[in-house]
């Protein structure tokens, strides 16, 4: 089985993997309150590839972080596979993130003191991580075309290579959900194409993908777009 395909978890494609029920997130900035996400309601079915688009500062990344349980909503509920993630303990949420979600950030998100191989396998070494094959990290590196760079350190990789390693790490624990924030930001066209190709393969393998992007080319890969505007989430069919 290719490394981007997931083992069957018994769920059907019609299941809702994500449900947001009136989710809001506000921040205090000096004396004023900023409403980054305002009463977002959303349901995403398993196996979809969804793009979140919008201007800078519209709340896209905050929405992605709310979905991934990286930040607690000021109000509302976030359900992953039907589980209210803020009704469980912090340790349980950590295990859930580790097993179920793969994050790809918009910045170089590798640990600089670990080599490429250790960076990829890092998620599988935490307490509560699901068992994975011994050679999975190497398989994933092969998949992203960096099979021979396992011993290199992040500082010796190009930006595009670092993104590919980070993407390989995202898949380490066979997550059901991939949250990718600007996965191709700052990359040249060729590298962007490679990353999108990998994302398509992952999606075809059964994982749900939500990506935040400015790029029309990237957004066009999604089945549909969600638009963020000043914290308001609206769903509309993709204009492809």
């Amino acid at each position: 089985m290719p490394p981007y395909e997931r083992e069957s978890d018994g769920n059907t494609m019609s299941d809702k993997i994500i449900s947001l029920k009136g989710v809001s997130k506000t921040y205090k900035v000096g004396p004023s309150t900023v409403r980054a996400v305002d009463n977002a309601v959303l349901e995403i079915e398993r196996g979809r590839m969804v793009a979140i688009v919008g201007h800078s500062g519209s709340g896209k990344t905050t929405l992605l972080s709310l979905i991934g349980g990286l930040t607690k909503p000021t109000s509302g509920n976030v359900l992953l596979n039907g589980t209210d993630i803020w009704a469980i303990s912090d340790n349980e949420l950590s295990v859930l993130r580790n097993k179920m979600i793969g994050f790809s950030f918009q910045f170089a998100s590798l640990i600089p003191t670990l080599n490429v191989y250790d960076n990829v396998r890092l998620p599988s070494t935490f307490d509560g991580a699901p068992p994975v094959r011994e050679d999975r990290a190497q398989d994933l590196l092969e998949m992203v075309g960096l099979g021979d760079r396992g011993n290199s350190f992040p500082a010796h990789l190009s930006g595009g290579e670092q993104r590919r390693v980070a993407l390989a790490r995202t898949l380490m624990n066979e997550p059901q959900l991939i949250l990718a924030d600007e996965p191709t930001g700052d990359l040249d066209e060729d590298t962007e194409g490679e990353i999108l190709d990998i994302l398509r393969k992952i999606n075809a393998g059964g994982a749900t993908i939500i990506l935040v992007t400015h790029s029309r080319a990237v957004a066009s890969q999604a089945e549909y777009e969600l638009r963020m505007d000043k914290g308001h989430l609206s769903e509309k069919p993709a204009e492809f």
Binding site: N91, N98, K99, G128
Partner: protein, 400 residues
């Protein structure tokens, strides 16, 4: 899958900022080294006093008035000295109420000249008939009383059993070597009073400088008090009953050493406290900086599934690694410093010194390491807790 150990991750993180890690290790090393060497010095001096006083075997030492300082120096550090008084003093002391046993001793400073003397050392004459210091040891180790040409030497005298040593032109056979005490006895040569008088008598012909000693003269009287009386009471009685003498109790002798030591250590301990506080503050500041610098990384680890406890353990493991390395360096440097400068310290302070037993040494090493590590954990506690409580998204955003 083989785990990525916390220890490995922590060590890798510390290698990232080698200078900062070095500074932290150095500060902890100074704190640990000062503590280690000060404790080693105190325990070595105490052990030496314990063993030395037991070897001295007397409750009170009576010396001529004006000879207290040189007498103490001879007993404590073996600085050679000569002073005399009449033997009748021993009889007067023996007559004082509360005195159980007395034994006279003679202190003779050997000559520096190599032609006459094996070395510049303290020669001690004792009376085999009344002695309660050397005689019990001889009975156990030599199995015969000393002849006129026999000596027993301290552990630091450079001669072996069976060899001959020369003082004031007189050859003596070394029949025994005393165990180390760390005190003046280690650098002294013991002979009978008769042997000392004979040596003095012959010195006019055999030595470059004659030994001006009359038969019957002594330097000190060792006193044991009778059970049921206090040493201080008896010492007071001797002072009033035997004019021209000074009665020094064993406690006073110890106290004069500990007073000298505490004067020196006072500054040392104040310095150590300051360095420990500095070390704690530095570790706390450095770990606050580390947490601040690595917020994004902490957020990433949390996003990947690292639990709060994992982040806390990672931070404290880094602190433990730094402080353990600092503690170990401090112990090694402190130990080496004491080994190298021991002679200078003891000579300049006029204190005895006897290395502690191995078990104490091991305990001191472990104790210093433990204290260093505990300090590191305590100092890094707040940054470690606050880093583990960071919300992953906030940490990632702050790190951008």
């Amino acid at each position: 899958m083989k785990r990525l150990g916390l220890l490995y991750l922590a060590a890798q993180n510390l290698r990232r900022k080698p200078f900062r890690s070095f500074v932290t290790i150095a500060i902890v090393a100074i704190a640990a080294g000062t503590l280690f060497s000060a404790t080693l010095l105190i325990s070595s001096v105490n052990r030496s006093l314990e063993v030395g006083m037991e070897r001295l075997g007397a409750d009170i030492l009576v010396v001529p008035e004006g000879s207290q300082e040189s007498g103490e120096a001879a007993l404590i550090t073996g600085v050679p000295t000569s002073f005399y008084m009449e033997r009748s003093v021993a009889d007067q002391v023996a007559a004082v109420q509360g005195v159980d046993q007395v034994s006279p001793q003679l202190f003779i400073e050997s000559l520096i000249s190599s032609a006459c003397c094996t070395g510049h050392v303290q020669l001690v004459g004792y009376d085999p008939d009344t002695d309660f210091v050397i005689t019990p040891w001889l009975e156990q180790n030599v199995d015969k009383p000393l002849d006129r040409d026999d000596v027993v030497i301290g552990s630091l005298i450079l001669a072996n059993k069976g060899e001959t040593v020369k003082f004031y032109g007189h050859d003596f056979n070394v029949v025994g070597i005393l165990d180390a005490t760390g005190m003046g006895a280690d650098e002294s040569v013991f002979m009978t009073l008769d042997a000392a008088y004979a040596m003095a008598d012959e010195s006019a012909q055999d030595a470059a400088t004659a030994l001006e000693l009359q038969p019957g003269q002594i330097s000190s009287v060792l006193v044991r008090v009778a059970p049921g009386t206090t040493i201080e009471q008896v010492a007071q009685r001797i002072k009033t009953s035997v004019p021209g003498t000074l009665a020094i109790t064993a406690n006073e002798l110890s106290r004069s050493v500990t007073d000298r030591l505490s004067g020196f250590l006072k500054g040392f301990i104040v310095l150590d406290i300051i360095v420990w506080i500095m070390a704690l503050l530095t570790i706390a500041a450095i770990f606050s900086m580390i947490v601040n610098e690595r917020q994004r990384e902490i957020g990433l680890l949390r996003a990947m599934g690292g639990k709060r406890g994992y982040i806390f353990r990672l931070m404290t493991t880094e602190a433990i690694l730094l402080t353990a390395a600092g503690g170990l360096t401090g112990v090694l440097l402190g130990g080496a410093g004491m080994f190298i400068f021991r002679a200078v310290i003891t000579a300049s302070l006029g204190i005895p010194y006897l290395w502690p037993p191995l078990w104490f040494f091991a305990l001191l090493v472990l104790g210093t390491l433990f204290l260093s590590v505990v300090s590191g954990v305590v100092a890094s506690l707040y940054p470690a807790i606050s880093s583990s409580r960071l919300e992953p998204y906030a940490a990632i955003r702050k790190g951008e």
